[in-house]
């Protein structure tokens, strides 16, 4: 994953609001089905797992296959009853783990 992940979510919410969270990470999501100019199969290399927690508790997770488009984009929701910290994690086929965090306050 080349750059830092990109996140879009509100910085604050009213108690009980359901907010939208958008996440994106730069990654070619190489399917393992393509061949290079020499005819050799380009090996598969994808982000295969994503997870989001809020204040340490599981919120949302995804298992991804090569049919997810390059630069995987994931949008999901969260019901906000208290302020706290989101933690997002992406796992590559090769074991690389990328994380990002974002906080939200309740007004």
């Amino acid at each position: 994953m080349a750059d830092k992940p990109r996140l879009k979510l509100p910085k604050e919410a009213k108690k009980g609001d359901v907010i939208e969270i958008k996440t994106l990470v730069q990654h070619p999501m190489e399917t393992g089905l393509r061949k290079d100019a020499g005819g050799n199969v380009i090996p598969r290399k994808i982000v295969n797992k994503f997870s989001a927690t809020f204040n340490g508790a599981p919120l949302f997770s995804a298992e991804l296959e090569p049919a997810v488009a390059a630069n995987p984009y994931l949008q999901f929701t969260a019901k906000i009853d208290q302020g706290g910290t989101f933690r997002f994690t992406w796992v590559d086929d090769d074991g690389t783990v990328t994380t990002a965090e974002e906080t939200i306050t309740v007004t």
């Binding site: 990109r6 730069q26 100019a37």
Partner: protein, 422 residues
Amino acid sequence: MQRGLFLGPAAIALVALATLALPRLAATAPDPGAAPLATGDASARPWKRYPGWPSRDSVKFNTLANPNVSPPAPKEPRKLTKPLAGDPAIGAKLVADRTRGGSCLACHVMGQAGNADMPGNVGPDLSEIGNAGLDDDTLFNFVNDARVYNAESVMPPWGTNGLFSDEEIGHIVAFLKTLKSPAVFPTSVDDPSKRPPPVEHRDNLDEMVNPGLWTVEKAQQLWDARGPTGSSCAGCHGQAAERFKTWAAGMPKWEPRLDKVLGIEEFVYRHAKATTGFDWLMQSSENTAMAVYLRFLANGQAMHVDVTSPGAKEAFERGRALTATKVGQLNFSCLDCHDPKRGGLKWIRGQWLGEQRGQLDHFPTWRTSQQAIWDIRKRFEWCNVAVWANELPPEAKEYGDLELYLASVNAGLKLNVPGIRH
């Protein structure tokens, strides 16, 4: 008597001027008409077609630089000397064969040919042409070279240009004669007359949507980077965002020193080379990043290019003529696909053909089909190759004339770069 430096009023004024002059030089964007420009090739040499693009050499057919080499249209329809003994089953395959320049289904609905899977509608629906009372000679000549009936025909000269042999045209004619009832489409979107034209909803400037935007960050780094001469863009131009709020909206421009129209991409190469020493060849990732960035800074500005000054006026006229110039083995001009009086605002297969206005405000664009940012010159090259014509190198003066004309057609539209498109 005390000795000291006496600064009379004139001297004070001189000193004041000297100290003001230095920051003023850095604070004023130099007049682009005087911008140093390197000469020579602006793109990679030898110019080689991109790997992965169709590799045919169409040297026997027109290019925009060489528009008089294609075989001429026959002066009159050919008379068949023996009956066509075509096989409609072979014809049915040929009209649906994408490797043969389309073929027919790209532009025509033809009954159940190709399972009526998203045929196009640039040309008339031929599903009932078997009932139209046309004899074999007429059908043959239409396919062989429709220019004998209509000199302005959009139809490729399938026979004259060697796309189909006489025998194959015979098979196609035999198939056409079997078409006697309307097509039955698998779904309503397969019917080009019912298919809704695509509407672009994406926000070009949403980084969650457009990977093209990420190149702006790269360009910002390049702006500050020092080249082999020790200079950087920032060194003369200061903060890019303030200096270039409108510049890109006035490009491309006639450049008398080079006797051609200069687009932003070519300008970036020549100017960066002449000042910083950087070798940002056209269509390199650095060049494309800068070309995106300079327009991005002028986003929201209405495009407005000069087409009346000496040099520009002639280039504009040449550009207009180029849009009507037939090129390639498929013998298409820009207008054949992009003028609503011809193929514009119609479907070829499942692709919508846009008109000229609305095409340039979002270039360079991220192409989802290519997973890369393309500038307008690369788009021109691809269009040429797609109609089986040889492309020109990116800095070809013909592409410059074309870009200037296209920019004038897009005048008033607000820059919205980078785009995101198919």
